[in-house]
């Protein structure tokens, strides 16, 4: 009897399965009847995708970070209602990243064929030639074939496939062991009062001033600057770094997590350690490294923290900042404070744990503390996410290294926006979604929260407030100043977190006002009534009025010099599927030039920090893509997308010197002195998120090579230096 029942059950299952398969077959037949590509095209497209796209969008087309999914529900939400021709035109106009339009038409066509196949479309008999205007939802359903959804994993730090940012093949490991004789261990006192001859900390000092007391190069002789040496850096990935200098040694973070020590006077290589993994996509910059005592520290892009011997480059210790293989990422650099290495964390979206800031014993690498930047239900601030479940509370990433006040023993960090970007998509209402877009003041020894300030509660357009926290004393008042993507320059009391003042530096239309007593921003009314799948305008765009290229503070003139970007976008938020572990489709963007700018995307402006009054500003077509370095020579150095590195007079903004470099000037300029000569160093680099991609898309008349990562070092002619000394 049991046997008969089992047979009957099996028969039912078989019938059900047959019916289901028949249904699927029928559906697939319906799709294949209209699919405007061939199997051969899709096969070729798979290889072309792996070479040109997979590094950013991943081998399973799931997307990561700012790179949208190209298969599944996310892709269908964005493209289902549009046509195959529109999709073809889109990727041809914008891809591969940084090399738009560089493939031949047939290759773009095969890539489209593969992406359609990856979304459940079935190959037909007619070749896709780019002109077919078939609605994508009519031929694809977003169901990803198993062999594409679960491709064989490659080694490395979570990056898979190829792409525009893929590093050339090279051997990893230590390629040159150093034997540096003259190296003075870096003490806490040296970090608190850095010697102007050195550039010891990411932004020059703990306060993130990016200012140097050196003045051999000044506004009266800067026009005589000349190239002294240069050094080609690793290609692939995103190059947006700044050298660290100590005792005449330049420590340089390359892409693919390669660390080098160079003679800062001549550019001679002293040691090199290629930690890996190789970069596979044009994102994730190593923005800085740190030196402390006898070690060099680097938070690698695969969320590992390394300590290397400063004299030899040999590995001393290594620790995981986050679990490996889950795609966690480091991109913001790090800071050493009071014996601890403090790092942030990024790409923790739609998965647990949430992002956190963590500290490690500088001698041993043992974790000392961790502060989670997303407030969980039932914890302080946990009610600021509405009804969003804990495992869907995403964002709050920390992708810019913090600053430190040694007297207060507080480290200050900014956090990125909550995700998905748009209120309507994340279903959190206008609640503040703590601790997204917040300044965090943490005890450097314990990680305990001293205070927080939420800059943009309910922010909804990918307008991070994550950037540098600059510490400036105004008389007895200790302040913290910061500026986020909305372009609002904030001044807070850094002892208490109290709002003091705010100033608009670039056009924005997201907020229609501010309460000057509390700092509470007032949203434009239609922002509050937004709906998913509806376009809504935002100025600035996600490239930010201000982005990662940091400000500089010149204490002698009380001027903060700010690189600003001018572009706007229309944004459309998707209905986001609430699944843990899924990379969430966030939104779509359409770009346009900012009203009132005459098509100029770059703006450099100086503000007096005591009064918050603007002193000068100028505009140019190209976006600025470096931080600003100011010096006691009344100079401020800055570089841009159009390959120009320049010096302006700090007090007037007048350009005094320019040089055109081989490719995009991207990174952080620094200055230092060796043997009585002042040097100015800057990197060129490609890759990166919105600040790089927006001008790439909007400034079609500006061209640059798709390679050329390097560091360039300038100084005055030797004869002039001798005269000045």
């Amino acid at each position: 009897m049991l046997k008969i029942r089992r047979i009957r059950r099996l028969a039912w299952i078989a019938m059900g399965t047959t019916a289901a398969l028949a249904g699927l077959w029928s559906a697939s037949q319906a799709q294949s009847a209209n699919a405007p590509f061939t199997e051969a095209q899709a096969r070729a497209g798979r290889a072309a995708y792996a070479t040109n796209c997979g590094g950013c969008h991943l081998a399973n087309l799931a997307g990561v970070g700012e790179q949208p999914p190209l298969a599944g529900a996310g892709f269908m939400a964005a493209w289902g209602r549009r046509t195959t021709k529109e999709f073809y035109d889109d990727i041809r106009a914008q891809m591969p990243y940084g090399r738009a339009g560089s493939l031949d038409a047939a290759t773009y066509q095969t890539i489209v064929a593969f992406i359609l196949l990856a979304n459940g479309a079935h190959a037909g008999t007619k070749e896709f030639d780019g002109s077919e205007t078939v609605r994508i939802s009519a031929i694809a359903n977003g169901q990803v074939p198993a062999d594409i959804a679960n491709p064989p994993r490659r080694g490395g730090g979570g990056d898979e496939g190829g792409g525009g940012g893929r590093a050339p093949a090279m051997t990893l490991g230590q390629t040159l062991v150093g034997n540096i004789k003259k190296y003075t261990p870096v003490s806490d006192a040296m970090l608190v009062h850095p010697d102007p001859k050195d550039w010891l900390i990411y932004r020059g000092n703990y306060q993130a001033w990016s200012h140097s007391g050196l003045k051999q190069v000044g506004d009266s002789n800067v026009d005589q600057l000349q190239l002294k040496w240069s050094w080609a850096m690793n290609e692939g990935g995103e190059n947006a770094t700044g050298p660290t200098i100590h005792d005449g040694i330049m420590f340089l973070a390359n892409t693919s997590n390669t660390v080098q020590a160079l003679d800062a006077r001549t550019g001679e290589l002293l040691w090199e350690n290629r930690l890996g993994p190789l970069a596979t996509r044009a994102y994730s910059a190593l923005r800085s490294l740190a030196v402390y005592e006898d070690k060099v520290y680097i938070n690698a892009t695969d969320a590992r923290l390394y300590a290397l011997d400063a004299k030899t480059g040999k590995l001393v210790w290594r620790t995981d900042i986050a679990e490996q293989g889950k795609g966690f990422n480091e991109t913001g650099g790090l800071i050493v404070a009071h014996g601890k290495v403090i790092v942030g964390l990024t790409l923790c979206r739609g998965q647990m744990p949430h992002c956190y800031i963590s500290a490690y014993d500088a001698k041993t690498g043992k974790q000392a503390w961790k502060f989670t930047t997303i407030a969980a239900p039932g914890t302080p601030g946990g009610d600021t996410w509405g009804n969003v479940p804990d495992d869907m509370r995403a964002g709050g990433e920390t992708w810019i290294a913090g600053t430190y006040d040694p007297e207060l023993n507080i480290t200050y960090w900014g956090t990125a926006q909550s995700k998905p970007w748009m209120q309507a998509s994340r279903r959190s209402g206008t609640a503040s979604t703590l601790y997204a877009n917040t300044t965090l003041a943490l005890d450097a020894d314990s990680g305990a929260l001293k205070w927080y300030y939420s800059h943009a509660p309910g922010e909804t357009f990918d307008l991070d407030e994550v950037f540098e926290r600059v510490l400036i004393d105004h008389g007895a008042q200790k302040t913290l100043m910061t500026i986020g993507k909305a372009g609002i320059l904030w001044k807070l009391d850094r002892v208490t977190g109290k709002f003091l003042d705010a100033k608009q530096t670039v056009f924005q239309n997201v907020y229609s006002g501010i309460n000057k007593k509390t700092g509470q921003l007032i949203f434009r009314p239609d922002v509050l009534t937004q709906k998913t799948n509806t376009w809504i305008s935002a100025c600035p765009s996600a490239a930010g009025g201000h982005d990662w290229p940091p400000t500089s503070y010149d204490p002698a003139n009380d001027l903060m010099i700010i690189p600003l970007n001018q572009s706007c976008n229309m944004m459309l938020g998707h209905d986001v599927a609430q699944h843990t572990g899924v990379v969430q489709p966030e939104g779509e963007e359409r770009l346009f030039f900012m009203p009132g700018t005459d098509g100029n995307m770059g703006r450099l402006a100086a503000y007096r920090t005591s009064t918050m009054e603007p002193v000068w500003s100028f505009q140019q077509r190209s976006s600025f893509l470096t931080g600003v370095l100011s010096t006691d020579g009344n100079l401020a150095f800055v570089g841009d997308y159009d390959r120009t590195f320049r010096a302006v007079q700090t007090t007037t903004g007048k350009t005094l010197w320019t040089v055109r470099l081989p490719t995009v000037v991207q990174g952080n300029p620094v200055t230092y002195e060796v043997d009585g000569k002042q040097y100015i160093a800057i990197t060129t680099g490609l890759g990166g998120g919105s600040p790089f991609s927006k001008p790439s898309s909007m400034l079609g008349e500006l061209h640059h090579p798709d390679h050329g990562h390097a560091v360039y070092v300038f100084a005055l002619p030797d004869k002039l230096t001798q005269k000045l000394n």
Partner: protein, 172 residues
Amino acid sequence: MRCRRLALSAIVLAGAFAGAVQAAEQKYATRLTAVAYDGAMRANVQGDGQVSATLDGSKLTVSGRFTSLPSSATSARLYSGAGIGVPGSALLDLQLNGQTDGSLSGSFTLNSKQLAALRQGHVYVQINSQKAPEGNLWGWLLPDHPFPGVDVPEQGHGFLPQLDVPGNWIEK
């Protein structure tokens, strides 16, 4: 003597009137650039243009030119949205001359709502074309302001629409 005084008074009055007229006249301008676009739209929303407008009382006179559209212009209109840089709905038709290069013009008496929108910078010019029927070029009409030139510093913050156009920024 009396005639002279009257003549002088007439001259002064005329001057004052002209001054008042001039003071009442407000100049607006914009550069026309591509509407919001993605890669799929990019090829169809190219081009450039310049528009100036004069508001005299409630009378608005608009003139401009455009060049290098990828397809022939089909219409040009004034639109108004909920803010500077915020697209909205059509207000008034402009007269269009030319195809991929050409000019536009119009003269209107604005009602109080339209006047308020213009003064707040919420009105924009949009040219639609055959391949971009929902918008090819646009530009927001903002108070005409001197631009010192690329890379030339100016004192203060320069022109920032939401600070320099009344009604776009509230400080409580």
